[in-house]
């Protein structure tokens, strides 16, 4: 098991190094995308700041709490993009049949297409984002237990994000027509930039249980604010594991539908 894990870490590092080299070779494109990502963050952050300057609270949450929800969304969103960027390049691989080459290798095909192209642009933005999250998190004066719950639920959030990306990959195999399922996922999760409490029913229930954006993003932030108990965390993890299970089943089903077209 440990040997297998070491092998996969080594392969991930090799694939990531190759992916980084490709992007670093295009310095101008790297700069443009990096500036774009930073500006997008700054614009929404600025909007929230000025909005809360006028309203003081949002759905009962203070300014610092709302900003912390937004930062937690970014932590999960940016790290997921950093790890799972290869998902965005999967559809062409299916259309021209290059996925055959992945299947023929002595390597888990899902691992290759899920984590085979880490994104250096997102990696650059992660340290300042973590620093900001720690700063705004400290303003909430959390207890040690709250921080622990936050980290545990953050991990659960990454599990759900991974499951979503696996579902997107599976969709790409099953239905060739859809080329932006991943963007639908991004739009859905972007509804978690703010606490799901702002949405009316049944949208709130939809975002909490059916597409668990709330469990993925809102719950970790709530845990940091001391609003979560052990039972809530166990339930969140149960849903997280269930979503991963469904995603893996769907992936296995999708593989049986792969027709190796154009290869």
């Amino acid at each position: 098991m440990v040997k297998k894990l070491k092998k996969y870490i080594k392969i991930w590092w090799m694939m990531s190094r190759n992916s980084f080299s490709v992007i670093i070779d295009q310095k101008l494109a790297l700069s443009v995308f990096l500036i774009g990502k930073i500006l997008r963050f700054v614009f929404f952050f600025g909007f929230l700041y000025f909005l809360l300057l006028g309203t003081k609270t949002l759905a009962g949450y203070s300014s610092n709490q709302v900003i912390f929800f937004f930062l937690t969304f970014n932590i999960i969103d940016v790290i997921s993009q950093f790890l799972f960027r290869e998902v965005y390049r999967f559809r062409p691989m299916i259309i021209n049949g290059d996925f055959d080459l992945v299947l023929a290798k002595p390597l888990n095909s899902l691992f290759r297409v899920l984590m085979g192209g880490a994104d250096i642009i997102d990696l650059i933005t992660i340290p300042p984002l973590i620093a900001l999250t720690i700063y705004f998190g400290s303003l909430l004066h959390p207890s040690f237990v709250s921080i622990l719950y936050y980290l545990v639920l953050l991990l659960n959030g990454f599990l759900i994000a991974a499951a979503f990306h696996i579902i997107v990959l599976s969709f790409a195999i099953v239905t060739l027509e859809v080329d932006h399922t991943v963007m639908i996922y991004r739009d859905l999760t972007s509804l978690g930039r703010l606490p799901v409490d702002i949405y009316q029913q049944p949208l709130r229930a939809f975002l909490t249980y059916l597409v668990p954006v709330g469990i993925m993003i809102t719950l970790p932030a709530k845990a940091m604010m001391g609003m979560m108990g052990v039972m809530g965390i166990v339930s969140a993890f149960s849903i997280g594991i269930f979503v991963v299970f469904i995603a893996l089943r769907f992936w296995n089903y999708a593989l049986t539908k792969y027709s190796s077209a154009s290869s």
Binding site: A29, G46, F47, F50, L58, E177, D187, L194, Y199
Partner: protein, 267 residues
């Protein structure tokens, strides 16, 4: 004129080639509207709340207005121009007896018509589900000014897209990157599609109002709401007209320069 009508019809039919894709694209628009709608609905949840000069009816009309104005202004095919330049496909069009600019403008109009139809349906469905208070503008002058501001917004957006799409003449590798930076990030934030510009401090507002971006969404919707009138309305329309002119001349200048360095790489 007949050939552009032909382009319009073919382009319209092309949009239906990938129906599921198109529908999912519209679904994405609905998600964006939902975030903005519920955010502002929560802010104005208390009865009689007045913030940033808006009441609940006006802010929710602003959000619903965005749906229609977005479909009219932001629906476009002209971002494909950068790919034509980067891959050398521009040569095919330069040899044909048509204006490349008019060709893409016609395709844009076709995209706008289709998106407007879908946006109208989404508007009705969401309106029936959410039942927001709505501000109906009955003043003929405001409605006329709103129409004029929409026409100017369409022109400004088209020229900006074409200018951005011209970048691959010099640096083909940042075709999508420059669109991401300008259309996805800057225009999305500064046009008023996410929030009304007047929630920002006065200095920042003045700075943004001096750029062409707020004349794409914020200005037309504010004109509809009747929040901009009299000399401010005339001044705003003049600034939008001036930007249309500046961008038109800028585009002609850049496009001519670009054609001189165009090497049809990839053909």
């Amino acid at each position: 004129m007949k050939k552009y009508w032909g382009i319009f019809r073919i382009s319209f039919q092309q949009e239906f080639a990938y129906r599921l894709n198109f529908i999912l694209w519209r679904v994405r628009n609905v998600f964006q509207i939902l975030l903005t709608y519920f955010l502002w609905s929560t802010v104005f949840a208390g009865p009689g709340t007045q913030i940033f000069g808006y009441d609940r009816a006006k802010i929710l009309t602003y959000i619903f207005g965005i749906m229609i104005v977005r479909a009219l202004v932001f629906s476009s095919r002209a971002m494909d121009v950068s790919r034509d330049i980067a891959q050398g496909d521009l040569s095919n069009y330069l040899l044909k007896p048509l204006s490349y600019l008019k060709y893409w403008f016609t395709r844009d109009v076709s995209s706008k018509v289709l998106n407007l139809i879908f946006a109208a349906v989404e508007f009705i469905v969401l309106f029936l589900i959410l039942k927001p208070p709505f501000f109906f503008q009955g003043n003929a002058v405001a409605l006329f000014a709103f129409t004029a501001s929409i026409i100017l917004a369409i022109m400004i957006y088209f020229f900006i897209l074409f200018l951005i799409s011209s970048i691959p003449f010099w640096t083909p590798e940042i075709g999508w990157g420059s669109h991401f930076l300008v259309t996805v990030v800057i225009i999305e934030a500064l046009s008023g599609a996410l929030f009304p510009i007047n929630i920002l401090p006065q200095g920042l507002q003045s700075l943004i109002m001096a750029t062409p971006f707020p004349y794409l969404i914020y200005f037309p919707v504010e004109v509809y709401l009747g929040n901009i009138h009299g000399s401010a309305l005339m001044g705003g329309l003049m600034v939008a007209l001036a930007w249309t002119g500046v961008l038109w001349f800028g585009l002609n200048f850049i496009w001519q320069k670009g054609l001189k360095v165009y090497q049809a790489i990839g053909r």
